[in-house]
Symmetry: none
Subunit: 247 residues, 2 copies
């Protein structure tokens, strides 16, 4: 994903001021006057973020699905901007899958801050019903878990627990927090309840050799494994997995 931001708007003044603000913040900027043009431009620039004008509910929905379908923009964040008096409607874009919205005329600092925030966010939000981690694929809408394409049956509690962990991949949760977050609100459970359900989940995942994606963090709780990111070059580093080394 190249770092460009694509501004789509028919008003030149808007584009110019946005371009200035973004350029000052170090972003590359591309422009287009309407959605069809934007799709062409996106083919060349592969923008990581797109500003889309509010054109009414129907057109925006179509524009969003077009952008989500096209390859160069599938993984782009999308911010919808709209005149101040239309911002109430434009906010609906958030329900339609946009990542943020912004009123015009905009404040330059706010615009840059929102762009930064959007890009910082994982883009998982665009497909809230499908959660994945490694070979796992959990479809919340269908209430179905598949591993390597093979379906695995989950009990309701197991499903809620796994879904919650998938939604917050990598974060550590205490047993209490898990009970609060992944259990029906009225229920009162305690003790080793979470442990047991974790155990049952791991048991289900074991045949697929991915029972270790649910990790225990001793004296704190549990978390879903997430591969270490930011593997910036470190060639000469020793292997730490087997620290049998002594001095």
């Amino acid at each position: 994903m190249d770092g460009a931001v694509l501004l789509v708007h028919d008003g030149q003044a808007v584009r110019v001021s946005a371009r200035k603000a973004l350029a000052a913040a170090g972003y590359d900027v591309a422009e287009a006057v309407d959605v069809p043009t934007a799709l062409q431009v996106a083919g060349r620039t592969r923008p990581c973020l797109i500003f889309l004008p509010w054109l009414g509910r129907r057109p925006v929905r179509e524009a969003l699905s077009e952008l989500r379908a096209a390859d160069p923009t599938r993984r782009s964040r999308i911010i919808v901007w709209a005149e101040q008096n239309e911002i109430g409607d434009a906010a609906m874009a958030l329900e339609l899958g946009a990542d943020d919205c912004l009123a015009l005329p905009f404040d330059a600092a706010e615009l840059v801050a929102r762009v930064n925030a959007c890009l910082r966010r994982p883009l998982a939000a665009m497909r809230p019903d499908e959660l994945t981690a490694g070979p796992l694929l959990l479809d919340k809408a269908m209430h179905r878990l598949t591993i390597h394409g093979r379906e695995v049956a989950l009990s309701p509690a197991e499903f809620r627990l796994l879904a919650f962990l998938l939604e917050n991949q990598g974060r550590v949760f205490s047993r209490e927090e898990l009970l609060r977050g992944a259990w029906p609100k009225n229920i009162s459970a305690g003790g080793r309840t979470v442990d047991v359900h974790v155990r049952r989940l791991r048991q289900l995942l074991e045949p697929f050799h991915c029972d270790d994606i649910i990790q225990t963090v001793r004296s704190f709780g549990y978390r879903l494994a997430v591969p270490a990111r930011d593997a910036r070059g470190s060639a000469e580093l020793p292997d730490v997995s087997t620290h049998s080394t002594q001095l």
Copy 2:
């Protein structure tokens, strides 16, 4: 996470109109006039989302860290609202870890849409609280330490100790202070306990050649070395490498 939204603002008119909009959308609403009051109210209502007023950079940063530290609000989403003319500054709250921001006076539909969007977003979207020192990167939320992108496993005590030192980078702490600051409050430990844990930490860091970032200050205690900033502008920081023996 109980479904309440907590409105913090000193203007009653703002709170009333927001309450109406949210209530119409089916949310429970609680109110508070300032942050200290909010913390009390949050203890009872356990809000899933909090509206915080923009009070300047420093106060907001402190309010955020307070809310992230307190148990009932640790995993609440936070939206900062600010008068239109301050929205540019308020957007900075996004960098500080807020989930969204909103200009006043607000549009009711936009407010509700933003609340929905925030709550729809997984917690993971929140900015991780990362502490860094040189090649070290410690994420408290994920409970994970990576060095040069490699994950390193820490025991609970090691993690607490390292986190504490990272939070107070460069400061010297006596063993007593470390026990008080980085250990559970009820525990009673003394003697060479800290020494041993420092040793174990250094042992873990050694394969990465950064075991010397935990420095011994003879007859005082320990501290974390302030790493040399990358070439530019390290002017205001004292050089710690030289006077490692006494002060």
